[in-house]
């Protein structure tokens, strides 16, 4: 009887330790931070990111040992640290193809300096183009969005045209101003989690892929 009680107690303790370890591990696991660097041209600070169809096969920052190499993602990380009360310029090397916005409202950029983003992209003939835009032309051509809702920043990222040469990327850059220090979440509004119900599972629900934290300090 005594031995049985000890076994039950030990098993319960082991189970509790496993659950606690899982919860603590989950709660404390954040992608490595990427700090903004002083902008090379112009004022403020800059951050460069890459969006890819599969994090395992990225052009610039591949993560072949990632547990989900086929998931879409922002690379190299989704924890971004930026200075407070500063102009931040984000440049995104966007390699993914169009996925389409569920709410076309997000096709318009909001909360960025000058109201426009700069984009180099490929037209329907596969020719490179360049310009400043306040929105993407067709919400169905969005691959992702970069949105910091609490700062009012919403920027659509156009998908690479199917007629573009292989390994092409659209380069999108925009600036916004940070205020007081704080931690803000940022995310994608395109339901881009392939193979998940309504596209909002997997990479959309996991830190390090389609969302993360903007640490203003």
């Amino acid at each position: 009887m005594g031995a049985r009680l000890v076994v039950v107690l030990l098993a319960t303790a082991a189970l509790a330790a496993l659950v606690a370890g899982f919860v603590i591990g989950f709660a404390l696991r954040f992608p490595e931070p990427l700090a903004a660097t002083p902008a090379q041209a112009g004022p403020g600070f800059s951050v460069q990111l890459e969006t890819v169809a599969a994090v395992g096969t990225a052009i610039e920052n591949p993560r072949p040992d990632d547990p989900h190499p086929t998931w879409v993602g922002y690379l190299p990380t989704t924890t971004l640290t930026v200075p407070a009360n500063s102009l931040i310029t984000i440049t995104i090397h966007q390699e993914d193809t169009p996925s389409g916005l569920r709410n076309p409202y997000w096709a318009t950029a909001r909360g960025i300096e000058g109201g426009t983003f700069h984009m180099t992209y490929f037209d329907d003939k596969g020719n490179p183009q360049e310009g400043d835009f306040s929105a993407i032309t067709d919400p169905a051509n969005a691959a992702h969005t970069f949105a910091i809702p609490d700062l009012g920043v919403f920027v659509p990222l156009e998908g690479v045209n199917a007629n573009a040469p292989p390994n092409s990327m659209n380069v999108i850059s925009f600036s916004f101003r940070t205020g007081a220090p704080g931690v803000f979440h940022w995310q994608c509004f395109v339901p881009c989690g392939s193979g998940t119900i309504y596209g909002n599972g997997g990479p959309m629900q996991t830190l390090g892929y389609m969302g993360g934290f903007l640490v203003v300090q």
Binding site: Y105, F189, G193
Partner: protein
């Protein structure tokens, strides 16, 4: 000589009456949520206040009796068994009757307020309804709340279906809030307006609000909806004057005239169910 039971009962009755009055006065000082920014919110506050006032004598009576019994009838040095108790018809009838009256009274008031909060017959003759060329006479202002992972946006069908990042409402207006979702289950909770309504894809869930005060309010999602559920909040909801609302909505229409939005519909369906592979 008075029987000891009568003495106990008299003491309890006096203490109960005094403490209940003190308790009721104290409870009436509490500002119950959600406040009074809308008629429905004020109704909820006053209902909570009424329930607290009515439950105070009950709470005081139960706790007082427990404490009094523990002190007055505690065991002495000699262990002696008390007299057997076979129940008391009068006491039983009294507590069942009093409880029933209180419960049915509260149920009646609760049902009446619930019905009045959502009654469309109330929604006529408002300043906005009668003067608005868009809403038409006797029409409440319609606002569509669209939940999506992870933000609420707001559409104004009376103003060409224009969409906004924040909810702005005119004061002294009857508003029909049509709550829906483009993906999964959310819940629209405008705290100070006293509105909480499920946002389900493919469903047009209607809540009614009559704004009574200008000021700001907080919107939160009240249905666990994924990784950023906790961030799905907005403290920029506003109730503004009728003229400020007219100015704001005109500016919004101007700013958003080129913004693509889907054709206005009572509800939206997420598609495709599974994207890619």
């Amino acid at each position: 000589m008075r029987s000891p039971n009568r003495t106990h009962a008299l003491r309890l009755l006096v203490a109960w009456a005094v403490l209940s009055v003190i308790g009721i006065v104290a409870v009436m000082q509490i500002q119950f949520p959600p406040g009074d920014q809308s008629r429905q919110a004020a109704d909820q506050s006053s209902l909570l206040s009424l329930m607290a006032v009515l439950s105070t004598p009950v709470f005081v009576g139960v706790v007082l009796f427990l404490i009094y019994a523990a002190l007055a009838f505690r065991r002495g040095k000699v262990l002696e068994d008390g007299p057997p108790s076979y129940g008391n018809i009068r006491v039983q009838v009294a507590w069942i009757a009093i409880t029933a009256v209180v419960v049915f009274f509260l149920a009646g008031i609760g049902i009446t307020q619930l019905a009045s909060a959502s009654s469309s017959t109330d929604f006529s003759g408002t300043q906005l309804g009668t003067s608005s060329p868009v809403g038409g006479a006797g029409q409440a202002l319609q606002v569509q709340v669209i939940g999506q992972q992870w933000y609420f946006t707001y559409r104004y069908p009376d103003f060409g279906g224009v969409e906004s990042l924040h909810l702005v409402l005119p004061v002294d207006a009857n508003v029909e809030i049509h709550v829906t979702s483009t993906d999964i289950l959310h819940s629209f909770w405008a705290y100070q307006l006293g509105v909480k309504a499920d946002a389900n894809p493919g469903v047009d869930n209607i809540a009614y609000v009559t704004t009574t005060h200008t000021g700001s309010f907080t919107v939160r999602c009240a249905e666990l909806c994924g990784i950023w559920h906790g961030n799905m909040s907005d403290t920029s909801g506003k109730v503004v004057s009728q003229s400020d609302f007219a100015t704001w909505v005109a500016q919004l229409q101007k700013d958003e005239k080129d913004t693509p939005v889907p054709p206005y519909a009572p509800a939206y369906f997420p598609s495709p169910r599974v994207k890619g592979s």
